[in-house]
Amino acid sequence: MDIFSKLFEMTAFGIVTYKTVIMWAIAFLLLFLGIKKKYEPLLLVPIGFGVLLANFPGADMGIVAAENIELPDGHYKNLFEIAHDYGILNYLYYALIKTGFLPPIIFMGVGALTDFGPMLRNLKLAFFGAAAQIGIFSVLIVSMLLGFTINEAASLGIIGGADGPTAIYTTIILAPHLLGPIAIAAYSYMALVPVIIPLVANLLMTKKEFKINMKQMDKLYPPKHQIKNIKTVKIVFPIVLGTVVAIFVPSSVPLLGMLLFGNLVKEIGSSTSRLAEAANGPIMNTATIFLGLSVGATMTSEVFLSPKTLGIVVGGFIAFAISIAGGIVAVKVYNLFAKKKINPLVGATGLSAVPMASRVANEVALKHDSNNHILQYCMASNISGVIGSAVAAGVLISLIGG
C-alpha cells in the first residue's frame, strides 16, 4: 500500500487538470503546424515542444513569473539560484531571454544571411518599407481601446512588423508576461503570409495594378546611375547606416547594430568569413533552439488561457493586414504622382517576413502576367521592412518603456 502511494505521488496524475490537457492540445497543434504544415518549423517546433515541457505538471519546466526571482531588498536571485530553484529552462530564460540577449544575437545571424544588394539597386523602393509599419501603430491604438495597457498594446502591435526577433525583443522589454502568445502569433502569421498577402492585395488592387511590369518601367525610365563597385558599397553601407540610425533612434541599436555587424562581417568576405559563418551557423542555430524552447516554456496554462491571448491572435492578424494595406496604399498614392509606376505588390512586401513575402508577391504577379518577374523589386522593400520594424520597435521602447 505504502509503495503504491509512493508510486502515485511520484507521478503527475494528481495535478493534471483540464487546463493542462488544453495546453497539450495547443502544443500538439503547434508541432503539427511546424512539422506537417511547415509553418516556420525552425521556431514553431522548439516553441511547441517548449509548451509541452512547460505543461508537464511536476516536471517544473515552466517559466515562473518575474516576481519569483525578486528578492525583498530590491535585488534579484542570481542565475545559479534560479537554476537551482526552478530548473534549466528558467535558467535559459532568465540568462538568455529576459536579459534581451538572444534576439540581437539572432539578428546578428540574420544580418550575416542578408543581402542588401537588391535594396541598394532599387533604393527608392526602400521607402515603402516605412509605410508597411502602419499596422504596428494602428493596432497599438485599437488594442488599447479593447482594454490592453499601453505596454501590452505596443507588444501586440509589433506583431505587425512581421519580424520574429523584433517582436520578441520588444515584448521582453515592454510586456514579458505576453511573450509566449505574441511570439507564436508573430511566427504563425509570418508562416501565413502566402494566405494573407493575396487576401489583402485582392481587396485593394485593381487588375491593371497587378500587371504593372517593373522591368518594363526600368526600360522606359532607366535609373540614373549604376553601381560600379557593389562590394565597397555593401561594406560601407552597414557602417554608415548603423551610425546614422544610432544617432536618431539609439534604442534600436541592440537590434539594428547587431544586424548590421553580422552583415558587415559577411560582406567583408574571406578575411572575416570565420565570423560570418559562426554568426549564421552555430550561434544562430543554438540561439534558435534555446529561444524556441524557453519562449514556449513561458506558456503555462495560467498565462496562456486568458482572454488576452484571444486578443493577441485577433490583434496580430489585424496588424499584419493593416501593414500590408499600408504598403499597398502608399504605392498607389505614389503612382498618382509619378510617371514611372510601381507595382503595389512591392509595397505589400514592405511588411518584412523576408524572403517569403517577396516570393509570394512574385507568384501573385506571375499569376496575372507570366512575364512579370518582380522578385528583386519586392526584396528591396522587403529588406527595408526589417529596418523599418526594428526602428519602430526602438521608438516603442523609447517612448513607452523608457
Binding site: L123, K228, V391
Partner: protein, 86 residues
C-alpha cells in the same frame, strides 16, 4: 484612458515620422555611398578584380561544367573558387 489614447496617438505620429525619416535616410545614404564609390573607388578595384574572374586556362564551358559537377557532388558545400593551370 483618454490620456492613454492621446499618448498612443502621439506614439503613432512620432513612430511613423521616425520610420519614414530613417528609411528616407536609407535612400539618401545609399545613393550617397553609391555615388562616392562610383567616383573614387571604381578603377582600382576593377583592375584588381578583373584577373580573379578570369579562368585563363580553361574554356568557359568546361568551367561551367566543373562548377555544376562540384555543386552536385558536394551538395552545395564545396565551391570552386579558383582553377589554376599546373
Amino acid at each position: 484612458m483618454e490620456q492613454g489614447l492621446s499618448n498612443a496617438l502621439n506614439v503613432l505620429i512620432v513612430g511613423m515620422a521616425t520610420v519614414f525619416m530613417i528609411l528616407w535616410l536609407v535612400v539618401i545614404i545609399g545613393n550617397l555611398i553609391i555615388r562616392v564609390t562610383n567616383k573614387y573607388w571604381t578603377d582600382e578595384d576593377l583592375k584588381k578584380s578583373a584577373p580573379k574572374s578570369n579562368h585563363p586556362s580553361a574554356s568557359k564551358g568546361a568551367v561551367a561544367a566543373i562548377i555544376a559537377a562540384v555543386e552536385i557532388v558536394t551538395n552545395g558545400r564545396g565551391k570552386v573558387t579558383k582553377i589554376t593551370k599546373q
